[in-house]
C-alpha cells in the first residue's frame, strides 16, 4: 500500500518509462460533414510529437468533431490524418467532458479499464494504484465512484486515460463541468503530468484563458476553418493574469468576434 508514492516512470518500467514518446499528428485537407451540413473544411494541421495544442472556438464550430476524428472515434468524410508511427488502440486515449466512470466498479477497477489487456493479474492492480497515486487519489482506490466529488471523478478519468501510457491524449473539454477553483487545480495537474510524460496533447476547450494557461499552441477554429494558429511561447508555470497572457487572450478574442 505504501508503494504508490514513486513517480510513474520509476514504478512502471514498460509503457510509461518511454518518457518522451509523443505521437506526431499530420492533418491534411480534412473535411467532415453530417449529412448535408459541413462541419469542417480543408483543415491543415501539423502537430509535432509532444506538443500541447489547445483547440478553441465557439460552440458548434467543429472543434469537438476535429478531436473525435483525430482520436479515431469517427472517420473523416474527406482528407486524411497521418501519424508518426503505429497508432494501436492503447496509444491514443480520450478524456471526455463527463468522467464516464463505470458506477458499478470501484475506483481502482475503473482505472484498470485503461490498461492494455496484455497486463495481467497483480501487475494490473499495482500499475493502477501507481497512476492513481499520481493524480492524488491513492487513498480512494476502494471507493465507489458515486461517493467522489466531480473533480475527483475527473481525476480518476484522467488516471484511466493515462494508464496505458498513451502517446496522444485527446481532451474533450474535460474541465468544462467543474467549478472554477477545481478547474485551476486540475489544470495544474494536467500540466504537471504532461511535462512528466510528454505525450502529444490535444485539448479542446471553449475557455481561452485555460487554453493559454496550458498550451504551447492555440488553434482557433471558426466555421469549420482554422482561423488562427498561435504559438504561446511563455515559460511555465504561467502566472494567471499576467500581461502577456492578457494580450494573447485579447488577440484571440478579437479574431473570434471579428468574423
Amino acid at each position: 500500500m505504501n508503494a504508490h508514492t514513486p513517480l510513474l516512470a520509476d514504478s512502471s518500467p514498460t509503457d510509461l518509462a518511454r518518457a518522451p514518446h509523443g505521437l506526431g499528428v499530420h492533418v491534411a485537407r480534412l473535411g467532415h460533414s453530417f449529412g448535408a451540413k459541413r462541419v469542417l473544411e480543408r483543415i491543415e494541421l501539423d502537430i509535432p510529437a509532444g506538443q500541447f495544442v489547445a483547440i478553441v472556438g465557439k460552440s458548434g464550430c467543429g472543434k469537438s468533431t476535429l478531436l473525435r476524428l483525430v482520436a479515431g472515434l469517427d472517420t473523416p468524410s474527406t482528407g486524411r490524418i497521418d501519424f508518426d508511427g503505429p497508432r494501436d488502440a492503447a496509444a491514443t486515449r480520450i478524456m471526455f467532458q463527463e468522467p464516464r466512470l463505470l458506477p458499478w466498479e470501484r475506483v481502482l477497477a475503473n482505472v484498470e479499464v485503461g490498461l492494455p489487456a496484455s497486463v495481467k493479474g497483480e501487475e494490473r492492480h499495482r500499475r493502477a494504484r501507481a497512476i492513481l497515486a499520481e493524480v492524488g487519489l491513492a487513498d480512494r482506490a476502494d471507493d465507489w465512484p458515486s461517493v467522489l466529488s466531480g473533480g475527483q471523478r475527473q481525476r480518476v478519468a484522467l488516471a484511466r486515460a493515462l494508464a496505458s501510457g498513451p502517446r496522444l491524449l485527446a481532451f474533450d473539454e474535460p474541465l468544462g463541468a467543474l467549478d472554477a477553483l477545481t478547474r485551476i487545480e486540475m489544470q495544474g495537474l494536467v500540466e504537471r503530468i504532461w511535462q512528466q510524460q510528454r505525450f502529444t496533447a490535444l485539448f479542446v476547450t471553449h475557455d481561452v484563458s485555460e487554453a493559454l494557461a496550458l498550451a504551447d499552441r492555440v488553434v482557433l477554429i471558426d466555421a469549420g476553418h482554422v482561423a488562427l494558429d498561435l504559438a504561446v511561447e511563455l515559460p511555465r508555470p504561467r502566472r494567471r493574469g499576467s500581461a502577456e497572457l492578457a494580450a494573447l487572450e485579447g488577440r484571440i478574442l478579437d479574431t473570434l468576434f471579428s468574423s
Binding site: 472515434l73 463527463e98 463505470l102 458506477p103 458499478w104 466498479e105 479499464v113 492494455p116 465507489w144 458515486s146
Partner: protein
C-alpha cells in the same frame, strides 16, 4: 400504465423506503441503549400492524362477533397449522408448491432474460420478435388454463408452462428496457478503451441493466405466486392450492385461511430474497449506499 413505468415507480418507492430504514443494526452493539431501542423499533415497525390485527381478530372471535364458520380465530388456525405440520402434509405441499414456483420462474426467467438481452442489443432480433411477443403479452396468460389442461392434463407441465409464461413478460420487458437504456456514453467509452464485445457486455451493459432486471424480477415473483395459486386451485393433485381446495370440500375454513396466510408468508419470503440479492449486486448504486454514510 406500462409495466416499465410501474417498475420505475416501484424502484423509486423501494429506494425511498430504504432511506428510512437504518441498516447497520448488527454493528451497533456498542451504541447506547436508546439507539439500540430505536434500531429495534425501526426493524419491528412493519410487524406492529399485522400483530395488532391478529390480536383484534382473536378478541372478536372469542367474544363471538366473528362466527367460526366464517373466519376461525387465529388460535384455531394455529392449531390447524400445527396438526398439518405434524402430519407432514403441510410441509410436503409447501415444498411441492415452492418447487413448482421456482422451476417456472427459472424457465420463464431465463427465456425472458435471453430475449430481453437479444432484443436490447440487436435491432434485427427486435424487429422480428418484439411484435409477436407484445401480442402474446396482451393475452392474459390465465386465460390459457383450459387450453393448457387440454394439452398437459393436470400434471406438472401445465403449472410449469403457466408460471413460466407469466414470469416471462415482466422479466423480458424490464431486461429489454434496462439494456436499451444503458448510458450510451459509457458504451462509447468502453469501445474507445478497446473492450471486446464480450467484455463490453459483461462490464458495461449487463451491470447497467441490472437494476431494471431486478424490478422485473420483483414483478415476476408476484405473478409467479398468483399464477401458481390459480393453477393449483383449478387443476392439481398436490400443493398449497390443492390443499386449500380440498379443505373447502370438507368445509375446513381454518385450513383454507391457513393456506392463504402461508401464501402471504411465502410472498414475503420471496421479497426478502430479492432484496438480499439486490443489496449484494447493487452495492454501487447510490440508493443502496445512502444508509452507510
Amino acid at each position: 400504465m406500462s409495466l416499465v413505468e410501474r417498475g420505475a415507480r416501484l424502484s423509486a418507492a423501494i429506494a425511498g423506503a430504504r432511506h428510512a430504514r437504518p441498516r447497520d443494526a448488527r454493528r451497533q452493539h456498542a451504541r447506547p441503549a436508546a439507539t439500540r431501542l430505536a434500531v429495534l423499533e425501526a426493524r419491528l415497525a412493519g410487524w406492529v400492524l399485522p400483530a395488532l390485527l391478529v390480536v383484534l381478530w382473536e378478541y372478536l372471535s372469542r367474544i363471538g362477533v366473528i362466527a367460526p364458520n366464517v373466519l376461525p380465530a387465529p388460535s384455531a388456525i394455529a392449531q390447524a397449522g400445527w396438526a398439518a405440520l405434524k402430519s407432514g402434509e403441510l410441509l410436503r405441499n409447501m415444498w411441492v408448491s415452492t418447487l413448482r414456483a421456482f422451476a417456472g420462474l427459472f424457465v420463464g426467467g431465463v427465456i425472458g432474460l435471453a430475449f430481453g438481452i437479444a432484443n436490447g442489443l440487436s435491432e434485427l432480433s427486435r424487429r422480428y420478435t418484439d411484435t409477436t411477443l407484445q401480442m402474446i403479452r396482451n393475452v392474459p396468460h390465465l386465460a390459457l388454463i383450459p387450453l393448457v389442461i387440454l394439452w398437459f392434463g393436470i400434471d406438472e407441465e401445465a403449472k410449469l408452462f403457466l408460471v413460466a409464461l407469466g414470469v416471462f413478460f415482466p422479466i423480458y420487458i424490464n431486461t429489454l428496457h434496462g439494456v436499451r437504456t444503458v448510458d450510451p456514453q459509457l458504451i462509447e467509452m468502453g469501445r474507445v478503451y478497446g473492450m471486446s464485445p464480450l467484455t463490453l457486455f459483461r462490464r458495461v451493459i449487463l451491470p447497467g441493466a441490472l437494476p431494471s432486471i431486478f424490478v422485473g424480477l420483483r414483478f415476476a415473483l408476484g405473478i409467479m405466486w398468483l399464477t401458481l395459486i390459480v393453477a393449483e386451485t383449478i387443476a392439481a393433485s398436490s400443493g398449497l392450492g390443492y390443499m386449500a381446495m380440498q379443505a373447502r370440500e370438507f368445509l375446513l375454513v381454518d385450513v383454507v385461511v391457513l393456506a392463504i396466510l402461508i401464501y402471504a408468508l411465502l410472498g414475503k419470503l420471496a421479497d426478502v430474497l430479492t432484496r438480499w440479492l439486490e443489496e449484494r449486486c447493487l452495492q454501487w448504486h447510490p440508493a443502496f449506499q445512502a444508509r452507510r454514510d
